[in-house]
């Protein structure tokens, strides 16, 4: 990959910080009128989501990262590997349970996910922002209580647990925001 100097770094540029693929989220050029130029860059790790900052001087460079976001369809899993397919090329690839972590609970077969690849290998899988899932277990709410006020835990078919209003019942489908894990509405 090419490397980038102080004048080439910009927001959105994908770079390697050590072994960690990152994206630049902020770049601030500072220079005293008669002094040396610096660029402060903030970068976010794809793997951890953490944001860090470094200052570059004129002769410094950062290494580019071959990171590509691809939309892929989630097909199936065997308990250890989750398989995704590119709908244009029909190419398939797998991501391990460890890599997916908590994302697993939002994956529904045939849903389109954003798979982030580093040198062709998946490093992050981002589920759709909203998913619809069936509730397989929740306490019955108080009959006639449709006002909202108060909520209860509900277990979804994927095993995810979300808090839903009291009037939502077992067997119903609900819409959930996967970024926050919050209930949105009945579906």
């Amino acid at each position: 990959m090419p490397s980038f100097n102080l004048n080439q770094v910009k927001v959105g540029l994908k770079i390697m910080m050590g072994n960690d693929p990152c994206v630049i989220v902020d770049a601030d050029f500072v220079k005293p009128g008669k002094g040396q130029a610096f660029t402060k860059i903030k970068f976010k790790s794809y793997r951890t989501g953490r944001v860090n900052e470094i200052t570059m001087k004129a002769s410094d460079t950062v290494e580019g990262a071959n990171v590509v976001d691809t939309e892929m369809q989630y097909l199936f899993n065997d308990g250890a590997e989750w398989t995704f397919m590119d709908l244009e090329t029909y190419e398939q690839l797998t991501a391990s349970k460890e890599l997916l972590g908590d994302t697993i609970q939002w994956l529904i077969e045939e849903d389109l996910c954003l798979v982030t690849l580093l040198d062709g290998f998946p490093i992050v899988v981002t589920p759709p922002n909203f998913v619809v899932m069936e509730i397989v277990e929740t306490d019955p709410g108080v009959r006639g209580d449709t006002s909202g006020g108060g909520n209860k835990p509900a277990t979804l078919i994927s095993g995810a647990v979300v808090r839903v209003p009291l009037f939502v019942q077992q067997g119903e489908k609900v819409k959930v925001d996967t970024r926050t894990g919050d209930y949105v509405s009945r579906a």
Binding site: N7, Q36, K57
Partner: protein, 322 residues
Amino acid sequence: MSIDDWCPTASLAHLQLRAEILGQIRGFFSKRGVLEVETPVLSHATVTDLHLHTFSTKAEIPGLGGPSKLYLQTSPEFAMKRLLAAGAGPIYQLCKAFRDQEAGRLHNPEFTMLEWYRPGWDHHHLMDEVQDLLTMVLGTGPAERRSYSEVFSTELGVDPHRDDAESLRRRALEHGLEDIGGLDREGWLSLMMTHLLEPTLGRGAPTFIFDYPADQAALARIRHDNPPVAERFEVYANGIELANGYHELTDAGEQLQRFENDLNARRSRGLPEPPVDHRLIDALEHGMPPCAGVALGIDRLIMLAAGASRLEEVIAFPIGRA
């Protein structure tokens, strides 16, 4: 390219404010008997300053004997000094200046500069007048004045005139800066200025910082105290550097020596070595009156007057839309 790419980035209200402030400035100098001048934006020579990157262009100009290389000015300093040597008296100029490799929230490679000179004045006297101008435009009160040495020693425990690169590095790390390899003395001082001090300066009223380390003299005269100091100042408002001024160097020999030192430093770093402005040297040789001069960034001044936080809010078409 977005659909509104043709639009100005500044609001029309800010462009009106710009026009108003330019009018105020012309009135300010006219009342004080300072002459407005214009000098060439294109020149055969340019600055040698290590940290300034000049735009150049190829030209085919009848009468100049073949193709030539011309430079866009980084400031009108050299030509204005030639006018001073010619006996122009107090002069000012509002013009465009150009610096390659500078762009960001507070930088645009093409920007508007106000530069003026006061024969017979020193840098302290000129600071009074800069303060008057800021009061007129920004409504700010009396500025505080702190020496470069006092600011660094009070705020950071650093002796900016004597500490070597290694001890500056240690201090910078203690103050939470990261270890940037390969910085020299001036590099560490720049880093501490931009990252630690600048954001705190000029809060409330503007702050003047004066008497710089001799190795940052640029075109200022050096006063041979112990340690020697460059009679240079900068002014900050709301954490932003607005202007840089000098009690000007008038000695032709020393000026030529500084240009040559710059060129040597450029050579060792593999930077371009532009031609020295011998017309300036000749003018100094002829005799430039003792004077103080200052250059002030007009776009930043307007930005502060507008309460904006990015230059593009007060420049109609910044470089991305030029």
